[in-house]
């Protein structure tokens, strides 16, 4: 294990302990306990848009990678 990795692990462990030691749960002050209203609708719309964009990119990557796999197996079949 390298020194840098050991130091990073130590920093992460301290950060985790610090985060776990708090007795107050932190929540987003914008939408905490907010069930209705325009801000809640706005947050919902924003999450929906971002999820849509992210999902489209991820599906695109999946299709791209699937194409690579299919092409690679075809090439392998051709070589045998």
């Amino acid at each position: 294990m390298s020194d840098a990795f050991r130091r990073l692990s130590l920093v992460l462990a301290v950060a985790l302990m610090w985060a776990a030691s708090g007795d107050t749960a932190w929540a987003c002050p914008v939408c905490f306990r907010m069930e209705d209203g325009p801000v809640a609708d706005g947050v919902f719309a924003a999450v929906l848009v971002l999820m849509g964009v992210t999902s489209s990119v991820l599906v695109g990557f999946a299709v791209f990678i699937h194409g690579f796999v299919r092409r690679a197996s075809k090439m392998e079949g051709g070589n045998q």
């Binding site: 706005g42 947050v43 924003a46 999450v47 929906l48 848009v49 990119v57 092409r71 090439m75």
Partner: protein
């Protein structure tokens, strides 16, 4: 090290340039996606949202839409044209990109003269952020166009064809982003 090839690779089915531009465009989609998500949050949660056609110049916006579409069309023609003609088409698309930026500057100047600046309301703040970032992409594409048009003598036609192919995909992305901006700000 990734070899600098211009032909499609047997394992990926595309050239390294094409693969690179697709990865770049994926990151761009995430960038604009985050901004459109912020727009959705602000718009839906706003108590009042002005109608774009009452605040902005629909005529200038529509003119810019036509110019940008035309520019991309001209650039796509350059993909299949032989070199001297392709270079002329790329330079023509550069001129159209300049026209787009000119119209946008006129539009911005008019809005600022009327006191319509980003600090006035959320609509204008998001409008200037999104159209400003889009204009920066047009400037970036314009620089890349000039780089492709003048680079053939240095790097050869085969490599330039790869650059033109990648740039054409970039311009389609810039068009799609503009169309979304146009619908969200000017038409709705």
């Amino acid at each position: 090290m990734i070899p600098y090839t211009t032909t499609a690779r047997a394992d990926t089915g595309v050239s390294n340039v094409t693969l690179g531009i697709w990865l770049f465009l994926a990151s761009e989609v995430m960038l604009f996606g985050a901004l459109f998500s912020s727009y959705a949050l602000l718009r839906v949660s706003a108590s009042a949202w002005p109608a774009g056609r009452d605040v902005l110049s629909l005529g200038l916006g529509a003119a810019n839409t036509v110019v940008l579409m035309l520019m991309t069309g001209v650039f796509w023609r350059a993909r299949s044209a032989s070199w001297p003609a392709a270079q002329r088409l790329i330079l023509a698309s550069c001129a159209l990109a300049l026209v787009f930026l000119g119209i946008k500057t006129v539009e911005y100047a008019g809005e600022i003269r009327q006191g319509l600046v980003p600090s006035v309301n959320t609509f204008l703040a998001t409008y200037f952020t999104l159209t400003g970032l889009h204009a920066l992409h047009v400037i970036g594409g314009l620089v890349a166009n000039l780089w492709a048009a003048t680079g053939a003598a240095r790097v050869g036609l085969e490599m330039t064809a790869g650059r033109v192919c990648a740039l054409s995909l970039y311009w389609v992305f810039v068009d799609v982003v503009w169309l979304i901006i146009f619908v969200l700000f000017y038409l709705s």
